[in-house]
Amino acid sequence: MTGTTPPTAPRKIQPDPGLDDALARLDESKIQKVVQRVLANETGARLKAYVETCVRCGLCSDGCHYYLSHDGDPQYSPVGKVKQTIWELLKHKGRVSPEALRRMALVAYTECNLCRRCAMYCPMGIDTAYMIQVTRRICHLLGVTPRYIQDTAHSHAATMNQMWVKEDEWIDSLLWQEDEAREEIPHLRIPLDKDGADIMYSVIAPEPKFQTQLIYLAAVILNESGLNWTMPSAPGWDNSDMAMFTGDFEIMGRLKRKHFELAQRLKVKRIVMGECGHAFRSVYDVGNRWLGWRSEPVPVVHAIEFYWELLTTGRLKVARKYEKKVTFHDPCNIVRGRGLHERPAKWSGPFVRISWRCIPTGNITIAAAREAESSTPARRTKPSGWKA
């Protein structure tokens, strides 16, 4: 038993207009109304069972990279975060002050990235991420969301993509990348809106916005593999989903409907997507359910699974293996979300180790924690020994 008492670290809270302005407009009774509405209409057996049976054993702690990277500060343990959010809301029947809600929003948006790792550590199988997501849902309905991530959700609402990419800019980017790639491979095409293609290739908006060459690279792979593929020109091409993370399920639903309907309109057999993990979670697991589809209405294949298929079927041959050592970070949404952890190991170079150093890129580093709080989400976890 290691009995050291870690300090419960004092927080340096930075101002975030997304939280501050919304909180200034709230009072206890407004908060209570929304909390009770969510609890009554949107939660049921899961929340009740999780809250009533958690035996407060703390065994979930070691699963959480926030807990591990904050030297075992109990405030960061999964159950510690549930205590500061949902338990608190339930205890006061939702009647909490705006200041208390600020703390909950910070915990929910910046100290847990919903990776579901703790569910594998709890002997009971309690899904802490679900409870933190309920907290986010409440915060969203109260308008209390960190500004930066909210901006991406606004972008989704207005443009159906995450980065305010306009329709003509999107088409331009595709044509531009096709042009560039043809310098290298003259017969390469990025087929737009091809009816009845086998594959619709979908990306996240940061690709055309910041990393346009990724589209070029994907086009080379798809082309060289001799596949019948297409990319859509209309909105719905972006598979990402920051609304899922803010708790704005209505926008999430609109996004996913648009995405799948686009694929159905093009009559493609399946959607192959780029590497984005959270986008995969949204199309494969969360967004489809919100819309009432048990699983994706058009099969979705994640990049790793797709490359795996190309390599194992011999459609694509590797000329040279990458010789340097590789560290595989823990991409929660495709490892715990689809069991794809072994594939990269098999076809990357000398595969060294899986690092449990999570890089909560999608919903925290990029989005929520820009302004919201001082906690360093990507702190390195330390190896820890046996505990009682």
Binding site: M1, G3, T4, T5, P6, T8, T43, G44, A45, R46, K48, A49, Y50, E52, T53, C54, V55, R56, C57, G58, L59, S61, D62, G63, Y67, G72, P74, Q75, S77, V79, G80, K83, A119, M120, Y121, P123, M124, G125, I126, D127, D285, R289, R294, S295, V335, R336, G337, R338, G339, H341, S384, W386, K387, A388
Partner: protein, 219 residues
């Protein structure tokens, strides 16, 4: 004292048994009904195959990753739960009571073994208590309720042990033993102890999600 004894082994025992059984049935129904009305996802995605897979893997000590990370806790927890269930069910004195009142009998544990298992339960409760104090992540989430439940679970075993070894006022101890045992039974459906009934469903649901949807393990 005889009247009190008569009451606790008579009507109160019936009441406790009824509250325990009906309470569990009622609570199961409450959760089922709630899932059906407001969380249909749970029923929709529950997969018997993956639920059982998950439950099975977690039933093997030192098999799940986290149970290996906490070897002492794992050992204590398994011994505790096994002793907790088997000692009262297979105690000779309990069987004899059932035999006397209802003519039922079954094989029982030898008394010294039952005595040892009782000590295991008490020792485990002490361990859990110490853990609640010294482990910061446990202390942080511990409330008065958790202490009350720990005491409630330990009490029938402590009093049973004292009565068996005739330490303290025997008759009062026996009455206290029966009372606390009945209190314990009645508390199971309505407190955190209901994990006795709900844990397999919670485990089964997450196992189904991990197995059937996400193609990943959860142990």
């Amino acid at each position: 004292m005889h009247a009190v004894y008569g009451f606790v082994v008579g009507p109160l025992a019936w009441i406790a048994g009824a509250v325990f059984v009906l309470g569990l049935v009622f609570r199961l129904w409450v959760f089922y009904d709630l899932a059906r009305r407001k969380d249909p996802m749970v029923l929709e995605y529950m997969s018997p195959k993956y639920a059982l897979r998950s439950i099975l893997h977690w039933s093997i000590p030192f098999h799940p990753v986290n149970s290996r990370r906490h070897p002492v806790m794992t050992a204590v927890t398994f011994l505790f739960h096994l002793s907790l269930v088997f000692t009262p069910l297979f105690l000779g004195a309990h069987m004899m009571l059932m035999d006397y009142y209802h003519g039922l009998s079954w094989p029982t544990l030898p008394d010294p073994l039952a005595d040892l298992l009782t000590v295991v339960v008490i020792g485990a409760c002490v361990f859990f208590g110490v853990r609640r104090v010294v482990r910061p992540e446990v202390r942080y989430v511990t409330t008065a309720k958790d202490w009350a439940i720990l005491v409630l679970v330990a009490l029938p075993f402590v009093t049973g042990f004292l009565a068996y070894h005739q330490i303290g006022p025997y008759q009062a101890m026996v009455v206290l033993h029966i009372l606390s045992g009945e209190g314990w039974l009645m508390a199971i459906p309505f407190t955190r102890l209901s994990h006795m009934m709900l844990a397999p469903f919670i485990r089964g649901y997450i196992g189904s999600e991990f197995g059937a949807v996400r193609h990943a393990r959860d142990w």
